[in-house]
């Protein structure tokens, strides 16, 4: 149980109160995706979320997805494809992609899906659109998409 100021975001609670610094603060305003975490398996921006509103929820950060000797499939693919340069956006990218693959599996359509009712394919256009909430200042986008496509089993 944490005793914190109600103003504390999940992001600040993780970094400043719990000591989990894998989740990054880019903009603090929902505009970059660096702070993406999973709440009950769904991706959200932890900077725009009050910790007090989630006292009963399961929060998964990059630390919870895998460990150095047991990387998650996406973590391993990001390493294999060099899906980063400075690495600042990477935890957000990987958390986001983890939940995004789940959304694809559930058949959620996206802005670029031609048919709203068909099961979406993990094409590059779909991956880019679905990952548009994660900016990469180093523009490692091609390798990020390669890494995600490999795990999603998609074609270009």
């Amino acid at each position: 149980m944490l005793d914190i100021d109600p103003r504390t975001s999940i992001l600040d609670a993780l970094r400043n109160h719990i000591g989990l610094t894998g989740t990054k603060k880019g903009c603090d305003h929902g505009q970059c995706g660096a702070c993406t975490v999973l709440v009950n398996g769904r991706r959200i921006n932890s900077c725009l979320t009050l910790a007090v509103m989630h006292d009963e929820d399961a929060i998964t950060t990059i630390e919870g997805l895998g460990e150095p000797d047991h990387l998650s499939p996406l973590q391993a693919a990001f390493v294999r494809h060099d899906g980063f340069q400075c690495g600042y956006c990477t935890s957000g990218q990987i958390c986001s992609a983890t939940a995004m693959l789940d959304e694809l599996q559930q058949g959620w359509p996206s802005h670029v899906s031609a048919d709203l009712e068909a099961a979406p394919d993990p094409t590059d256009a779909e991956i880019s659109e679905r990952m548009s909430g994660n900016l990469c200042r180093c523009a490692a986008y091609p390798n990020i998409v390669d890494a995600i496509r490999e795990v999603a089993g998609g074609g270009k």
Partner: protein, 330 residues
């Protein structure tokens, strides 16, 4: 961020009663409110957390429409099979907005009530009649590329930023509310938002503490649904101009048309003169050109947003062409 009291009422009735106290704000997804609170553009003394109330369902209504709970996340609404099939324009509008992460948190009620993205509204060092009534409008005579060309006043030229609300306007949604005294009402979306006039800080017809409980959609109207959003980048950006269109063609003529517009006005815009012009006519390029002229016949540019007038015209003509072509091909 200013300190605030945090409350978590157990029922919608309790929430509405709590909400009536001055200085109170409801918080649902928090994606707009917290953003503004961090900048102290909004500084409620009390937050009433409605996020766990029982308002998260999408139900069939007796008349064959749908009732969407105020807490249904934008993602879930866009992905709902009934919405994808029968109200595609709404799915499309939602999917064109924000990002995957934000849509997971953003709620139906919060989306309707999100505040403008006017940069001067966000900048507490600048005059802004919406943020601080009577202080002036920095956008008039300032940099106003994203501002309104329709429905604005000399007191405020901000646009309403929602994509979802544009589709809801085309769909003739009704907003179901609960007031602190326990009474409920349904407000047609056409009457829900206010034009700025001399009071741009008043944006809707909601009274203090009035809680949005649900949004009701009438039975499916059929036809071809298109939502086109023109913006500065391909994703994760607000609309400069957007058009929600539903067009049905029967025996070679337009039998039904509903059109609403984003990015152009202080509220999701609709101009029934355009629909009246289209209905009963055969789809044709010249007709679409006339309809598009009608949309902007009273438009007023403010300098940096002048480009929106031809952009709106062309976007509407293109959307009408697309919807009719798809409808004829089907």
């Amino acid at each position: 961020m200013r300190p605030f009291d945090y409350r978590r009422p157990a029922s919608a009735a309790e929430a509405a009663a709590d909400g009536a106290e001055t200085g109170t704000a409801f918080i649902a997804g928090g994606t707009n409110l917290l953003d503004l609170m961090k900048l102290e553009v909004m500084a409620p003394a009390r937050l009433v957390d409605i996020s766990r109330l029982d308002m998260g369902e999408i139900e069939q209504t007796e008349d064959g429409g749908l009732r969407i709970g105020a807490l249904v996340p934008n993602s879930d609404l866009a992905a709902d099979p009934r919405i994808r099939r029968d109200y595609a324009v709404l799915s499309r509008a939602l999917l064109a907005g924000a990002s995957g992460q934000l849509r997971n948190k953003a709620t139906t009620g919060g989306n309707l009530l999100q505040r403008t993205r006017c940069y001067y509204f966000y900048d507490t060092a600048m005059p802004c009649n919406k943020r601080q009534p009577g202080s002036g409008c920095a956008a008039i005579g300032g940099f106003n590329r994203i501002h309104a060309v329709l429905g604005a006043s000399d007191h405020c030229i901000a646009t309403h930023p929602s994509d979802m609300a544009v589709a809801m306007r085309a769909l003739d949604a009704r907003i179901e509310t609960l007031a602190p005294d326990g009474s409920s009402r349904e407000i047609p979306i056409a009457d829900f938002y206010r034009l700025p006039g001399q009071t741009p800080h008043l944006e809707t017809m909601l009274t203090p503490g009035e809680l949005i409980r649900a949004v009701r959609l009438p039975p499916p109207r059929g036809g071809r649904h298109v939502y086109r959003k023109v913006r500065d980048r391909a994703s994760y950006a607000f609309a400069l101009v957007s058009v929600a269109a539903m067009i049905r063609i029967e025996d070679g003529v337009i039998a039904d048309a509903a059109l609403a517009f984003g990015g152009l006005a202080p509220l999701p815009w609709r101009d029934t003169r355009i629909e009246a012009m289209l209905i009963g006519e055969a789809p044709a390029r010249e007709l679409f050109a006339l309809a598009s002229e009608l949309l902007v016949d009273a438009a007023q540019g403010r300098g940096s947003n002048d480009f929106k007038i031809p952009l709106a015209r062309r976007t509407l003509a293109a959307v009408l062409g697309e919807a009719c072509e798809l409808e004829i091909a089907a």
